[in-house]
Symmetry: C3
Subunit: 146 residues, 3 copies
Amino acid sequence: MRGTPIEQASGTLKVSTRGPGFTDITTKVADWLTEIGATDGVAHLFMRHTSASLLIQENADPDVLRDLVDALSRLAPEGPHYRHDSEGPDDMPAHIKAMLMPVSVTIPVASGRMRLGTWQGIYVCEHRARPHTREIALHYMGARAG
Amino acid sequence: MRGTPIEQASGTLKVSTRGPGFTDITTKVADWLTEIGATDGVAHLFMRHTSASLLIQENADPDVLRDLVDALSRLAPEGPHYRHDSEGPDDMPAHIKAMLMPVSVTIPVASGRMRLGTWQGIYVCEHRARPHTREIALHYMGARAG
Amino acid sequence: MRGTPIEQASGTLKVSTRGPGFTDITTKVADWLTEIGATDGVAHLFMRHTSASLLIQENADPDVLRDLVDALSRLAPEGPHYRHDSEGPDDMPAHIKAMLMPVSVTIPVASGRMRLGTWQGIYVCEHRARPHTREIALHYMGARAG
């Protein structure tokens, strides 16, 4: 890869969520990389919210994702013990979950494809009870075709 | 952004903490990016310690941050069940908290400004009981003005 | 660093784990950076699995790492309450642990050395009960010697 000029590109992905759970964005990120002509470099994803997260997790058995949602609820239960309660009982647990999960993820790209493992998908994880529109900032740094 | 040469810059941010809790470093990071002439690229932040963390979280209601500190104490309580206790009862819980929170964060930058969401602030989270001076390694990769 | 051309390099690190616990890969990552002539830039590490993690933690007292393994088991215990149980009782807890810990880590590099703190080591954290071979995608972006 030596000598190839490094370029960059940025974008935004908007994702509509349907309450607690995971939305697979792997294909959308891959499509964006294709669109900008990414070949070899790194893709940076950044969640622009404090009550939703990015996660790279198993994409085979959907039960895994359901169990992960339950596990998050056990780690950050709703309850009367929070000072911050003005935005509903699900808000403070949502912030705690966001604290424990990635806000930014960096994925190497080779020959135009993300170097994800066989079972890895990229997800937006919604922590609030109600649907939201979430923005993910995308950035690519590396070689570009064309 | 195509064709603009990619350059880089590095720096160090020193932050004095006052025991468990959050210190907002958003403005300091933004000022550093302005100082080095960052325009479009990515900012990498790296915490050079194992008992403090970086966190991007809500910057509106300070009660959120207090509740986050409490939540961390519930997830990693002090107690007699740790092998490692030579550095005080707060040390092992601090390592556990650091394991669960980011050591590095990457934030896209556009037109000289970090692409943070409206309610996102960047924080140093101190996990030890006593004040410490914490070093954050800063790195910028992208286009630079001037 | 201005004006120095930015180049990149990518690689793969294969690590054999021995069941739950930490494997120090600091020297291997440092050696790779030396091998590719890294001088000033950033190193990106990416775990290509959903039941193992990357972690930067204390490298002095091995008891810290043992206590961290115990803490993870308390946060994500085995039990009959998971839907996903077809891959053994340790599989779903492994996914939960992987959700709570980094899949990607970015470390600034200066004068050929990672800017790790004095007590920071880079670890592969195995969450499954049995030994596995884990692949970590490596990427370097920055100036290169030679």
